[in-house]
C-alpha cells in the first residue's frame, strides 16, 4: 500500500450528454498527456489520458457523448460496453446544470448499471445566469451519489472533483439502485426475472441482475442476445420477459419501455423539484435571439454562405504566408543538399537523390499544406465550439434532404475541403449507416488541400490571368455539385432507403476557449500529419524508386543533353513504361504518357502530381516556368480535361485506407476508387472529344 489511499492507481471514465462540456473537464483533469484511441471493432474514438494527484495515478478515459445507455447508436454501445467490461473504479457523469432533468437520465441509468458514479454538476455559471439555484447537497441525498458543482471553462471545482475521485475510489462502494421505484407492476416483473437469472448467478458477475431484468423488459436487443448466448435457461427467461411486457402493457396501457422511462423521469423530476429553485423567467435567452436571425428561413443560407466565404478566405489568403515560408525553406534545404553533396548525375539511384528528390520532395510537399489545413480546421473548430455548426446542419437539412443527404452530412463535407481522411472520420456524426456510407463515398469530390497545387499549376498553365480565379472557383463548386449528384444517384440505387429523420440538439451559443480550439484543431491536423509521416513517406520512396529504375545505360545518359537526363531516366523507368502502356487510353482524353506518370503519382497522393510534373520538365529551365512549359505542350481543351480528371479520379491511398476502416470493408473502398476513377476518365474523354468536335464544327462552319 502506498500513501494514504487504498490504491496507487485509479481508473476513471468520463460520461455525459453531448454538449455537456465533457471534453473541457477531461482536458482539465488529464492536461496535455492524452491520446485518441479507437475502441476495438468499432469506429468510435475514445480519448485516454493520465494524471497524477497526491501520488495516485489517474488513468482517464473520455467516453463518447451519449444521451442514454440504451445501445441505440454506436457511441452508446461503446460507452456501455466499456463500463460493463472494464469496470472503472470511478465513473464521472458530467451533467449540464442548466438542463438538469434531461442530463440526469443518463445518471440514473449509470446508477442502475451499478456504477460508482460521481456527478460533475457542470456549467453552474450558465444555470445561475438563468436564475436557477441548485442545491447539490440535496441532490446527493436524494440520489445517493455525490454531486460536485463545476464550471468547466474556468476550471472551477476541478480540484474538488479530484479529491472526490480519490475518496470515491477509496470507499469502493457500489450504489444501490433501489432508490428508483418502478411501482408494483414493473417491480413484480423485475423480481420474477431476477430470480430466474439468479439460478445461474455465476454467469452474471459483471452485470447487475436487476439491470439485466430491466433491460429485458425494455427489449434491449443486446441484452436479449447476451441471455440467448449465455443462459442455460434462456428460453424460460425470455418467455417470462415477454409475459411481463404483455402484462405491463395490459395494466398501464403503454409499452413497458415507456412505463420504465416514465418512472425514471418521474424520479428525476421529483429530485429536481426538491433541489432547484428558479427565480427568473427564462424566456428570451440570448441564444434564441441569435437563432432568430441565424436560422431564419431567408437569411439562414446567406449567413452560412458568408461564413463559408470567410473560412475559405482565411484558408487560402492568410495561410499562404506561412506556406510560402515553409516552401522557401524546403527549396533552400534541397539546394543546399545538392551543392554540398556531390552525386554522380549518370547514376540516378543514389542516396542523395532518394533523400532530396524522394523523401524531401514528397513529404515536404505535404507539409507545405499544413498551414492552410490547420487554418481551415481551426475555423471549423471555432464554428463547432461556438455551437454554430449544429445550426449549419439545421439550415442545410431541407436542402440536403432534397439531394438525398442529411443535414449532418454538411459537416464532413466541409471538413473534406481540408483533407478527406478526417472528413471520412467526421461522417460518424451521421447515425444511419446508409446515409453515412453515402456521405463517405462522395467526400473525395470535395476538393481537398492536396488537390489545390495541381489546380493552381494547371489553371496557370492553360488559362489567361483574368480567368484563373473564376476557373478555380468553378472547379471547387463543380466538385461540390458532382458530390450532390452522386449522392442522389447512390440514394436512388445502391443505398436506397427512407431518409433518416433529423433530430439534433442545438447547443446554446458559447464563447470557445483558446485551449479547446487548439485541441480540436490539433486532433484533425494530426490525422493529416500522420498521413504525411507514414503513407506519403512510404509512397515517396516507392515512387522515387520506380521512377528511377531500371536506369538507362551510363553511355546513353552520358551522350544526352544534361537538361534531358531526368526525362530520359523517367522514360526508361517502370513508371514511364506503365505510362506508355496506358498511352492509348490516355490519348482519348488528350493526355500523353508523361501526364500518365504524374497521374500515377497523384493516385498515391494528390500532392505528388506537381512534384512529378516538375521532375518531367525539370524545374525552371530555359527561364520558363513549369506552367508555361506545360501550357505549351497541350491544348487548352486537354488542360481542362486534365483539371476535371484531377478533381474526380482516384482518391489517394490514405483515403482508401481510412475508407476501408470506416466502412468496415474493402468492397466499399474499392467501389469508391473504381467509380471515381472511371467517372473522372469518362468525363475527361467526353469533354476532350466533345469539345474537339464542337471546335471542328465551329471552324468548319
Amino acid at each position: 500500500m502506498t500513501g494514504p489511499y487504498m490504491t496507487d492507481r485509479i481508473r476513471v471514465a468520463l460520461t455525459g450528454n453531448p454538449n455537456s462540456g465533457k471534453s473541457t473537464i477531461f482536458n482539465h483533469l488529464a492536461g496535455a498527456r492524452q491520446h485518441v484511441a479507437n475502441y476495438p471493432g468499432v469506429t468510435v474514438e475514445v480519448t485516454q489520458g493520465t494524471a497524477t494527484y497526491e501520488g495516485v495515478r489517474l488513468d482517464l478515459v473520455d467516453l463518447p457523448g451519449t444521451y442514454s445507455l440504451s445501445a441505440y447508436s454506436p457511441e452508446e454501445r461503446v460507452a456501455r460496453d466499456y463500463l460493463l467490461k472494464e469496470k472503472p473504479d470511478v465513473v464521472i457523469a458530467i451533467v449540464d446544470a442548466s438542463n438538469l432533468e434531461r442530463n440526469l437520465y443518463l445518471v440514473v441509468q449509470l446508477i442502475e448499471l451499478g456504477m460508482p458514479v460521481l456527478v460533475a454538476l457542470n456549467m453552474m455559471d450558465i444555470a445561475e445566469r438563468r436564475g436557477l439555484s441548485i442545491d447539490h447537497q440535496r441532490l446527493s441525498e436524494l440520489t445517493g451519489v455525490t454531486f460536485v458543482p463545476t464550471v468547466g471553462h474556468r476550471g472551477t471545482g476541478i480540484d474538488t472533483l479530484r479529491k472526490k475521485i480519490l475518496h470515491e475510489a477509496g470507499t469502493g462502494r457500489r450504489i444501490s439502485a433501489e432508490s428508483i421505484r418502478y411501482g408494483r407492476d414493473v417491480g413484480t416483473e423485475i423480481t420474477a426475472l431476477e430470480s430466474l437469472l439468479d439460478e445461474h448467478a455465476g454467469l452474471w458477475e459483471e452485470y447487475p441482475t436487476r439491470w439485466l431484468a430491466l433491460s429485458l423488459l425494455e427489449e434491449d436487443s443486446e441484452v436479449i442476445e447476451l441471455i440467448e448466448r449465455k443462459a442455460p435457461n434462456a428460453d424460460e427467461i425470455l418467455s417470462q420477459a415477454a409475459k411481463g411486457i404483455e402484462r405491463i402493457h395490459a395494466v398501464a396501457g403503454s409499452s413497458a419501455e415507456t412505463v420504465i422511462a416514465d418512472r425514471r423521469y418521474g424520479f428525476i423530476s421529483g429530485a429536481c423539484q426538491e433541489s432547484i429553485k428558479s427565480s427568473v423567467e427564462t424566456r428570451h435567452i440570448f441564444s434564441d435571439k441569435i437563432d432568430l436571425i441565424v436560422t431564419h428561413r431567408v437569411l439562414g443560407l446567406p449567413i452560412l454562405l458568408a461564413l463559408m466565404y470567410i473560412v475559405f478566405y482565411l484558408t487560402f489568403n492568410i495561410a499562404a504566408y506561412p506556406s510560402e515560408l515553409i516552401e522557401d525553406g524546403l527549396v533552400e534545404l534541397s539546394d543546399y543538399a545538392r551543392t554540398a553533396w556531390q552525386a554522380d548525375p549518370l547514376q540516378p539511384l543514389n542516396i542523395r537523390s532518394l533523400l532530396v528528390d524522394g523523401i524531401l520532395a514528397g513529404v515536404g510537399g505535404v507539409v507545405v499544406f499544413l498551414p492552410p489545413i490547420m487554418v481551415l480546421f481551426m475555423a471549423i473548430a471555432a464554428l463547432e465550439d461556438t455551437g454554430y455548426m449544429a445550426r449549419a446542419a439545421f439550415v442545410t437539412d431541407h436542402l440536403m434532404h432534397k439531394m438525398g443527404l442529411h443535414g449532418k452530412s454538411f459537416i464532413p463535407m466541409l471538413v473534406g475541403f481540408g483533407c478527406s481522411v478526417p472528413a471520412i472520420m467526421a461522417t460518424r456524426i451521421v447515425e444511419n449507416r446508409r446515409d453515412r456510407l453515402t456521405t463517405m463515398l462522395i467526400v473525395p469530390l470535395m476538393s481537398c488541400g492536396g488537390k489545390y497545387p495541381a489546380y493552381a499549376l494547371l489553371v496557370a498553365a492553360f488559362f489567361p490571368l483574368a480567368w484563373r480565379g473564376a476557373m478555380l472557383w468553378f472547379i471547387y463548386i463543380f466538385g461540390a455539385v458532382l458530390a450532390v449528384l452522386a449522392a442522389k444517384l447512390l440514394k436512388s440505387t445502391l443505398l436506397r432507403g427512407e431518409a433518416h429523420p433529423f433530430v439534433m440538439e442545438l447547443p446554446p451559443y458559447r464563447m470557445p476557449t483558446f485551449k479547446g480550439l487548439l485541441i480540436h484543431t490539433w486532433e484533425r491536423s494530426w490525422l493529416f500529419l500522420k498521413k504525411a509521416g507514414t503513407v506519403i513517406f512510404a509512397v515517396s520512396i516507392v515512387l522515387w524508386f520506380f521512377t528511377n529504375w531500371p536506369s538507362p545505360p551510363r553511355e546513353e545518359l552520358a551522350q544526352a543533353d544534361p537538361s534531358e537526363i531526368r526525362a530520359a531516366v523517367l522514360e526508361h523507368s517502370v513508371v514511364g513504361r506503365v505510362g506508355k502502356t496506358l498511352e492509348p487510353a490516355l490519348e482519348m482524353a488528350g493526355f500523353d504518357w508523361k501526364l500518365g506518370t504524374a497521374l500515377i503519382g497523384a493516385s498515391m497522393a494528390k500532392e505528388v502530381f506537381v512534384a512529378q510534373m516538375g521532375i518531367i520538365y525539370g524545374f525552371g529551365e530555359e527561364g520558363r516556368s513549369l506552367a508555361e512549359q506545360i501550357g505549351g505542350d497541350y491544348s487548352v481543351l486537354a488542360g481542362f480535361a486534365l483539371l476535371l480528371f484531377t478533381l474526380i479520379a482516384s482518391p489517394c491511398i490514405a483515403t482508401v485506407i481510412i475508407m476501408r476502416r470506416e466502412s468496415g470493408s474493402w468492397r466499399w473502398a474499392a467501389f469508391q476508387w473504381l467509380a471515381l476513377t472511371a467517372g473522372g476518365f469518362v468525363l475527361a474523354v467526353v469533354v476532350f472529344q466533345g469539345g474537339g468536335l464542337l471546335q471542328a464544327l465551329w471552324t468548319g462552319g
Partner: protein, 102 residues
C-alpha cells in the same frame, strides 16, 4: 383520474403547431430505437414542448426544458401534440406518473 382532462384538446401534428405555441406531446409514431432516442433527449409523451421556430418546408426548433432541439419536418409530422395554455410541463409529467402509480 386526471388523464381525461387533456384529451379533449384537439390533436395536431407538431409540424402543424404554430410558432411560439406551448404544446403537450401526446405520441410519436416512430421506430423503437428512434422513440428511445427522442425520449433520452427529453421528448416523450406528456412533456411540454415550445415551438421556437417552424418555417415550412424547413426543420423546426423545439424547446424541451432548457434545451433546443432541431427536428426534421418529416419527423415532426409523426409527432402528435395538443396545444396547451397554462399548466407547466412538470405538472403534466407528474399527472402521467400519478396515473401509473398503484
Amino acid at each position: 383520474m386526471t388523464e381525461t382532462k387533456h384529451v379533449e384538446a384537439e390533436l395536431t401534428s407538431l409540424a402543424a403547431a404554430r410558432e411560439g405555441a406551448n404544446v403537450r406531446m401526446v405520441s410519436a409514431d416512430c421506430g423503437r430505437g428512434l422513440c428511445a432516442r427522442l425520449a433520452s433527449m427529453g421528448m416523450r409523451p406528456g412533456m411540454t414542448l415550445r415551438v421556437i421556430k417552424s418555417a415550412p418546408p424547413g426543420p423546426l426548433v423545439v424547446a424541451v426544458g432548457n434545451a433546443r432541439i432541431g427536428i426534421g419536418r418529416g419527423m415532426a409530422f409523426k409527432i402528435m401534440v395538443a396545444e396547451e395554455t397554462s399548466r407547466g410541463g412538470a405538472a403534466q409529467a407528474r399527472d402521467k406518473t400519478d396515473k401509473l402509480r398503484d
